[in-house]
């Protein structure tokens, strides 16, 4: 006869409520693990979707995901000419926050060369960008429809396609526009600013006594070109030809002034070790604390439940029950509670994880590891109750 099951059946209300409470706690632990993995996935999303072998960024910087990196767009031609490079494409990144439907609307805008690579990884609705201007593809998480318009910089942009789960390292959903549009949005000034620049620079030129009138006139005629140049990008990504040596290509680009070629491995390290390390540690610590709390709660529940059953245990001992029957009753209850609570926690997160504001990645290994930890916690926690039960004297069954 399974005494653990019989006790649970009799006290099912208390057992279910306890399991639900513990399940919610384990659900938080599971979600923390999912957020922990999600941080990784988010941080590496753009890096992985771009499928580049080398990221050429501004010298002495860690690239566009870590800090400001500005390089001229036309460096792509030099990079394409490097032996071993199959193709090179410029990319522009910027985080934009505007107001939409009365609420702050934040996203990560990626500008890409329509003839190059680094664009949206897959279109799930609508189509890819076909025109050089005023079209955009947005991530599903932006909750926009095909055909919707959005005002950015000086122009309106029409959503022509929806892509999947592309996010910035900060977790903001991504939107794609042509590189020219991204540069316009980032650098193009409004008419007042242009007029202001022209007047300020013109006045400065007029004040330079060493220039000849002809030189001054030439410069004033070309102020627009000097102040309105938007041909700057954050990085140029390159793919290598089959068999090309990554280090040789990196070495060659490193010799040029003003550029730093980062491999995918180096970018990954910058993103994971540098940018999300503290958040990961925080989440890891939080998970450990929650597991310790779970262990304490399970121990208390099992101990209290054992105390409630002192008379039962004493009676069982008095009628000659073996210790294994009593140990089995306590251990099985503890394990059943852990397994049911884990199931509740898992189901809860499985049903709600896509509704979390940040990405939650549930990996089989993490779930299995947590299950093993929960079983270990339940086993260890039940020792508290078992120890108490084994100390109960059969004589305690006698008397009132």
């Amino acid at each position: 006869m399974n005494l653990a099951i019989r006790d649970i059946r009799y006290n099912r209300g208390r057992f279910i409520l306890t399991s639900i409470g513990l399940g919610l706690l384990l659900g938080v632990v599971i979600s923390m693990g999912g957020i922990y993995r999600g941080l990784f996935a988010d941080a590496l999303a753009v890096l992985n979707f771009t499928k580049a072998d080398i990221w050429v960024v501004q010298q002495d910087t860690n690239g566009p995901f870590a800090e400001n990196s500005r390089i001229p767009e036309d460096i792509k031609y030099r990079i394409r000419a490097v032996p071993g490079v199959e193709e090179a494409s410029p990319l522009s990144f910027q985080t934009i926050q505007i107001e939409r439907l009365g609420k702050p609307f934040r996203f990560f805008l990626i500008g890409y060369d329509l003839n190059g690579f680094g664009g949206p990884p897959g279109i799930i609705a609508g189509r890819d960008i076909r025109q050089k201007h005023y079209e955009m593809v947005v991530a599903k998480a932006m909750k926009m429809e095909v055909g919707e318009k959005i005002h950015l910089g000086l122009h309106d942009y029409t959503v022509v396609g929806i892509t999947g789960k592309v996010v910035s390292s900060g977790g903001d959903p991504a939107a794609y526009v042509s590189l020219a549009d991204a540069q316009d949005i980032q650098f193009k000034k409004d008419n007042d600013a242009i007029r202001n620049d022209r007047e300020r620079i013109g006045a400065n030129l007029a004040g330079i006594q060493t220039l000849s009138p002809a030189q001054t006139k030439f410069l004033q005629q070309n102020i627009t070109g000097i102040t309105e140049s938007t041909h700057t990008v954050n990085t140029v990504v390159a793919r290598l030809a089959p068999g090309a040596n990554l280090h040789e290509v990196q070495e060659r680009i490193s010799r040029w002034n003003h550029f730093r070629p980062l491999s995918v491995e180096e970018q990954t390290k910058i993103l994971t070790k540098g940018m999300i390390e503290k958040a990961r540690m925080q989440l890891g610590l939080f998970r450990i604390i929650l597991l310790v709390i779970s262990a304490v709660i399970i121990s208390l529940i099992i101990y209290t439940s054992t105390i409630d059953k002192i008379k039962v245990i004493a009676t069982l001992k008095l009628i000659g029950s073996q210790n294994r029957v009593i140990i089995g009753m306590i251990l099985q209850q503890s394990l059943l509670m852990g397994i049911i609570a884990y199931g509740i926690g898992y189901l809860l997160i499985k049903l709600t994880y896509d509704k979390f504001p940040r990405r939650i990645v549930l990996e089989a290994f993490d779930l299995q590891a947590l299950f093993v930890i929960v079983i270990a916690i339940c086993t260890i926690s039940s020792f508290v109750g078992i120890r108490k039960a084994l100390k109960v004297e059969p004589a305690e069954a006698l008397g009132g």
Binding site: T315, L318, S321, Q322, L398
Partner: protein
């Protein structure tokens, strides 16, 4: 008398709690025998040592001195005999009835009886059949699936008696079995115990402080200050 005829033999049984100046003698030099089928009461006021005597015979409380033999097996002789399996002996040879029935609250009446049988390694089906028979014999056939909470005091005590009888023990030890019952139910339980003692050929040792409940007992031991002061038979003869 042939010693094997006795279900219980107690010789100079002494139990002392504590040591030195704080030592308290709970029972001193108790000597008696109980035959199978005999119904014996241990009568005495609170603190007289009757429960200590019961627990020493019940293999719960180790005697300080003296000898205890249960159904021909010597279990204690100046302390427990080395290597003796007290739990097995309790399972196989003893049945216990308690003051407050001590039924397991999360088991039904049937399961409360079955648990004693399954602890003694009886297969589940056999245990179920035997428990059902026992409960039916005690007029509890209609209460098999009821939990103890749903039973009256008398019914719960009858389930406890069924549990005590489940493994056909040679000795049944009852600690104030009527204390939680009204007079009518108490007398019914005592009558039932007497019937079982005769029917099952089990020795029944009942500890009680209530003189009214020991009518018809074969023998009555009067315990006072840890000693068996005197013994009377069912006719009141000393």
């Amino acid at each position: 008398m042939d010693k094997t005829m006795h279900a219980i033999e107690v010789e100079n049984l002494t139990k002392i709690y504590g040591k030195g100046e704080t030592a308290v003698t709970a029972i001193a030099d108790a000597t008696f025998q109980v035959k199978p089928g005999e119904l014996v009461a241990i009568l005495g006021p609170s603190g007289s040592g009757k429960t200590t005597l019961l627990t020493s015979i019940g293999l719960i409380n180790e005697p300080t001195h003296g000898k205890v033999v249960i159904d021909g097996t010597t279990v204690a002789d100046e302390g427990w005999l080395p290597g003796i399996d007290l739990k097995r002996l309790r399972r196989e040879k003893l049945g216990f009835i308690f003051q407050h029935h001590n039924l397991i609250p999360f088991l039904t009446a049937l399961e409360n009886v079955m648990v004693a049988l399954e602890i003694n390694n009886l297969p589940k089906n056999e245990a179920k059949n035997r428990a059902t028979e026992l409960l039916a014999a005690l007029n509890l056939g209609h209460r098999l699936t009821n939990y103890p909470m749903a039973l009256s005091g008398g019914e719960a005590q009858r389930v406890a008696i069924a549990r005590a009888l489940a493994n056909k023990p040679k000795v049944i030890l009852a600690d104030e079995p009527t204390a939680a019952l009204d007079t009518v139910n108490g007398k019914n339980v005592m009558a039932l115990l007497k019937k079982l003692a005769v029917g099952n050929n089990s020795a029944i040792l009942v500890v009680t402080h209530d003189h009214r409940m020991v009518e018809g007992f074969d023998r009555i031991f009067h315990v006072s200050d840890g000693r068996i002061a005197d013994e009377t038979n069912n006719l009141g003869e000393e």
